[in-house]
Amino acid sequence: MSRRRHSDDSDAGQPHKRRRTSEPSEIEERLESLICRVGEKSNSSLESNLEGLAGVLEADLPNYKSKILRILCTVARLLPEKLTVYTTLVGLLNARNYNFGGEFVEAMIRQLKECLKVNMYNEAVHLVRFLSDLVNCHVIAAPSMVAMFENFVSVTQEEDVPQVRCDWYMFAFLSSLPWVGKELYEKKDAEMDRLLSQTESYLKRRQKIHVPMLQVWTADKPHPQEEYLDCLWFQIQKLKKDRWQERHILRPYLAFDSVLCEALQHNLPPFTPPPHTEDSVYPMPRVIFRMFDYTDDPEGPVMPGSHSVERFVIEENLHCIIKSHWKERKTCAAQLLSYPGNNKIPLNYHIVELAQATEMLYMRLDTMNTTCVDRFINWFSHHLSNFQFRWSWEDWSDCLTQDLEKPKPKFVREVLEKCMRLSYHQRIIDIVPASFSVLSPANPVCIYKYGDESNRSLPGYTVALCLTIAIKNKASNDEIFSILKDVPNPNQDDDDGEGFTFNPLKIEVFVQTLLHLAAKSFSHSFSALAKFHEVFKTLAESDEGKLHVLRVVYEVWKNHPQMIAVLVDKMIRTQIVDCAAVANWIFSSELAHDFTRFYIWEILHSTIRKMNKHVLKIHKELEETKARLARQHKRRDSDDDDDDDDRSTDREDGPLEEQIERLQEKVESAQSEQKNLFLVIFQRFIMLLTEHLVRCETGGIDVFTPWYKSCIERLQQIFLQHHQIIQQYMVTLENLLFTAELDHHILAVFQQFCALQA
């Protein structure tokens, strides 16, 4: 389906692009379309479509061979869910044209090497699987495939390489076996047995320190969450025990057996895995998430067991469909639901049976990882907002008898809070039964301490009144400053004449009053921040000032976490506070009561993301300016034959070079601020957790309270969500913060993280 541009003839004289269709590119599009479409819903059978397409392509080979090669290599890489359709097609082409088959195999090997060089490991797996299925189509000779796998498995013998490198080659080998295990074993059983035995010993000796960090639940019942390679190994062992009988994969080539077995096969060239380099980044390990088993859909077709290879194949294919079609939600849904063989498996359970899933996830909240609970909260509240917030809350009334900090009541509270954000307070009161009112969110109103006449004895009360009148009368920043001059400083005996050192009372009076006046909406508050930016900057100049501003914001808006979040965001962006101040504020004792609430962590992660984006932005600016300078040099070099005027070249370069120097400094300063932010966060986590651990030890109480579980998982979350940046700091972290003297509970988190890319 080609995309039509909005071409409009009514505008004269503008460079409107019209699509100039020349024959070759039209044909290429047609070829690509034909190839991509095969295997989709059609009036004819798949076999006759493949036959027809093979004929068309064979006829086009003399003129369009390289284009056809390119398209076929691309579908092998990008449409793995249709792998066997395309291997069959290649098989048919190879049977008709042996040379083409050979060229295709060569092109695939080149593509595989290229993918491995640029760290495209997920796509490389698809290519390996494609090659292995070509054995089934008589394109590649089985012994040469076995030889390639021997080279893969021997990567596990390499010394001084990251485990994740060996893992990938092992995964590429094992995950191809559902497709080609039978054929390879029939032809080369001794070699395969050797490979499998080498596999077993590798899997036994590899370390799995990283696993606890990746598991969704801390309990092994009802479904253990296995490390992905372990799970795959069980599946392959079972497949072998079943004599490699695999019944799920669609194999169109079986229908063409008589044609294909006449074809001549090619040998794969000897394949040496590219060596490990500094720039190699291998995929991270995973834990297999399972929620349903064969007991969950008693009436439908039986769900394949968790160690059956069918389970692996189905899950891979469903993942691939989502990855291919994520931008087109209707197409994606249609593709998922029309998955081939969907009448033989309980497809809905593989994708997810919504209401049952919700119920199951709720029941297992007690052992669910905090980050996963976050996602559950976000998803469920969003889902409810699309379905008029209808839910049978009474089914969950077991949570009402539990302590409010326990996972289930906490989950319900957070969901209701999010639901309120998507609607309004009264709506939430109306939709929950009266018994749930204890879990309902607070009415998001502002708390103004100088509001009542009864508060007139509070220090600063009169100044607050004065300020209120002034602001309502559109006072300028200068007028505000002069009003604030009269506020005494409870901290110091002497401040300088201007009174601009840290004065918590000044901050309190100003911020409380302004936020109260601007409480009507986000826009009002943002305008207020903008209008009085100068006052904010001055009052919050010091680190203590920044911290105090944040404290006052919290005091005013503690009933309205959403408002706190947007105000903090705005204050960072307008540089009233910095990221480190926000981090310190989150770990401060004033916020201890809210420490396990979801909104706090949303604020912290949003803060970290802003910091990261800021560094990237300046870095990009620097690279762009460097590129401009390079282009300038190039231009000068190319048209500078006789002119050797050094002064003019310096003059031209000067401003750009200066800019580059300035940007370089900016980048270094930003990177330093970024590193400092993470160090502050880690430091505060360590302090907080150590305090808890010591208290429990001396008091003889169990360490594992709901608070502790939440806190340690929040620490894990920092590592996992920002792992790429944090990888840069490993040496500092190891030497400065996560040293051997640390309590082993805390050190374990760091060690698990190190193990992820070891």
């Binding site: 690509e32 991509c36 290599c73 691309t74 290229e114 609607s423 408002m563």
Partner: protein, 157 residues
């Protein structure tokens, strides 16, 4: 063989494409307008309830990325909400995701519609209907409790 090529079926991104609508009040050529639409980070959001708040919009649209600004659409006469708004993101990719996943879903129990906008200019926050609200509410025949009841023309009958 390079591994960076893609396929046109995988490039399909119909939810993020421009619609047929072009703002008739836009100052500039069609070409200018489309150029701005293709790089815009601003979305027009329509079919809101008059009671939907900036906070609700921020919460829903914040799911696809950081929001730079929300500008509520106002009745030109009454200066009250009249059922549309603009949402501006910092990054176009976030706006595209809103078009892919938030357009056509519900806010305040109403299916809302998003579309690319060439960029907010002062004055565009006001409805262009004769009575001050949006044009669609002038001629609407049905009763919509969230949008002032019957259309203005019907009300005046």
């Amino acid at each position: 063989m390079s591994c960076s090529g893609t396929l046109s079926i995988l490039r399909s991104d119909s939810y993020a494409e421009l619609s047929q609508y072009r703002d008739q009040h836009f100052r500039g050529t069609r070409y200018d307008q489309e150029r701005l639409l293709r790089k815009s980070c601003t979305l027009y959001v329509g079919n809101l309830s008059f009671y939907t708040t900036e906070e609700q919009i921020h919460e829903l649209f914040g799911k696809s990325g950081d929001i730079k600004k929300v500008i509520m659409g106002l009745d030109k006469v009454k200066k009250t909400a009249c059922g549309f708004c603009f949402v501006e993101y910092y990054a176009r990719g976030d706006a595209e995701n809103a078009m892919r996943y938030i357009n056509g879903t519900r806010l305040d129990d109403r299916i809302i519609r998003t579309d690319w906008d060439a960029g907010f200019k002062e004055g565009r926050q006001y409805g262009r209907g004769r009575s001050g609200g949006q044009v669609r509410d002038e001629y609407r025949q049905d009763y919509d409790a969230g949008r002032g009841g019957y259309g203005k023309t019907v009300q005046c009958q």
